[in-house]
Symmetry: C2
Amino acid sequence: MITDLQNILSTNIKGMKRSAIRELLKFLGQPGLISFSGGFPSPLSFPIEELKSIIAEVMENEAAFALQYGTTEGDDLLRTMLANRYKANGIDVTKDNIIITTASQQALDLISKMFIDPGDDVIVGLPSYLGALQAFGSYGANMIGIPMDDEGEDPNLMEEALKDLASKGKKPKFIYLIPDFQNPTGITMSERRRKEMLELAHKYDVLILEDSPYRELRYEGETQRTLYELDGTGQVVILGTFSKIFCPGFRIGWVVGNPDVLDKIVVGKQATDLCTPPFTQRIAARYMEKGYLDPKIEDIKKMYSVKQKVMLESLEKYMPEEMKWTHPQGGLFLMVTGPEDLDTNALLLECIKEANVAYVAGNSFFCNGKGYNTMRLNFSYESIETNIEGCKRLGSFFKKVLQK
Amino acid sequence: MITDLQNILSTNIKGMKRSAIRELLKFLGQPGLISFSGGFPSPLSFPIEELKSIIAEVMENEAAFALQYGTTEGDDLLRTMLANRYKANGIDVTKDNIIITTASQQALDLISKMFIDPGDDVIVGLPSYLGALQAFGSYGANMIGIPMDDEGEDPNLMEEALKDLASKGKKPKFIYLIPDFQNPTGITMSERRRKEMLELAHKYDVLILEDSPYRELRYEGETQRTLYELDGTGQVVILGTFSKIFCPGFRIGWVVGNPDVLDKIVVGKQATDLCTPPFTQRIAARYMEKGYLDPKIEDIKKMYSVKQKVMLESLEKYMPEEMKWTHPQGGLFLMVTGPEDLDTNALLLECIKEANVAYVAGNSFFCNGKGYNTMRLNFSYESIETNIEGCKRLGSFFKKVLQK
């Protein structure tokens, strides 16, 4: 073995840590552990029977195509199906506005590769999705976190940040937003706030990255128009994924945007993995073509809305009154906030060992290194009964902690 | 749309071009086009019938697992199967020495991310695999090309390069080699040369990246031991892939190496795509478990050895005598060299339009911007008859060109 492995690592990788969430996966095997940690969909949401017949058809009719290399842009049929679906929802795109990625995490990586030189600024929510922070960080981005209220990122603080950068002759490479059922807070951006964000993006000539993995999973309230639609000028890029509405095991995501932007992403993707698996892409395309996706999403919404309701009720019942939490209208997560001096990071292992419940310590989502008194809970993965039991255990655990 | 897209791109992406090979894929739809260009396996090599039954079993018995998120390291069963297969071939590894990647292109990307800061040196063959040059280049590597003879990279020139760097207080981040049926030349490194490379790697304390996508496809001569085995000290990292011996459409590759190196790759992969599709990984694991892989490789070798023989005979018959080519003992490619002033780059479109044959202009494989008089031909994709017809057309085309 070479003698100086640690020394010859790239600057960016030296600064990277293993994902707290991915590392938690190791505990998932622990007997009786209740996991509120990952962003796992319920296995009961997977369309296993539909897939059986579709896969058999693909293997019968087009195996030689599906098992071969594909184009870097992605399966044309899948891109067309996605474009048609956006069009049906009032978003005017064709397949040329869409490329397929190896789930949306790869889109985050490729967009980082495309824009970020070490030290470049990027604006994110405070808090925001850990995987995005990791992707941006892996290219040396300087992240500027904008605190959120219950309508989304604060527009005044956003403008302050943009003005401050402009005063130094700089602008951020992009603004990263998750307008629908944000990860980790579950907060949905109001239409007014969406328009304010777009005004700022236009005023300061900045691209917006609209990450929308949970958008389809609304359990109550009115659907908000996407930033992409409200903008209409090509200044917004949407990231989509099948991971929460179909299955994560296929690793299929996509980017919707201006062809000029997509073209550069494709160049980066050629060097990164050549193409997303044509096999899973073709199965997904046929699945959409047969019209299975939309009824399935309705099923999933029914399933998760009950789980969410039960979790909210259980938290109300079992959590100490010093703790508060968000009340999302959809998605997979909610965020709990405790007293200022609570440290969910320090308590996590104890909670897993004593209460046999896992959460994600909120600190991971705060690019400013704060948020120690918060935690993210997922309600999609465990069964209703287990969600109740988990909240009960979590409540007892934190009651004991706060009494000390 | 923002006004200055070109200006705000990262330094690395500004320097990247679309892959010549990936772009050629666009012509594959042209009627009657004979493609010697891609590194496509024959669709007849895909184990469609075996896969039908395995996929049905996976969907019946373990769909909820295969459709869910997986660990970043990869499917444990697949890693175990791969480790067992290496062990059976005399290479002493366990699953802890193996991680799964989204085909070996991703391994090249992740290893680049792990080691390369802009301006860092990397040693490659002259010529070498275009996708590797792109991956290294996408992180700003400075590539030092070492000319090859018929035993592989020249050890004297290699030592000169290492000495020269050392005299400047530098060393390369790694030496990238494809010892078996190299891409694009088809050349296999002799055992003597392998040992010389390892001596240099030890003397100068440099990691070797042993890319081995074609290793299993030997049609004549004796199998050489891997650099990994000859080394035995953990200074070599192997990149493997199913793309040429199973199917590329699953996008499954792997890295074999010292756990310290793998650990850093995993950290990078978490931010890049979270995990390789668990669905295709589990199918591949069951395929190996049932013992299908090795007999299939024997079938593929029989199929391709005939194709290679036919291409060599046809080139002999049809090509102008000013042109020479390599005579590989395996793999998917051979390299043709013409007179010094030939420019295969400039002639490619003409060749596609007039002769309806596509090759890859050799220039793409030379990190020093040379090699204009070379081209790479693939013999695995087209049928035997088409290979003959393609060589005939290619021969007429170049005879005409050289007579001018």
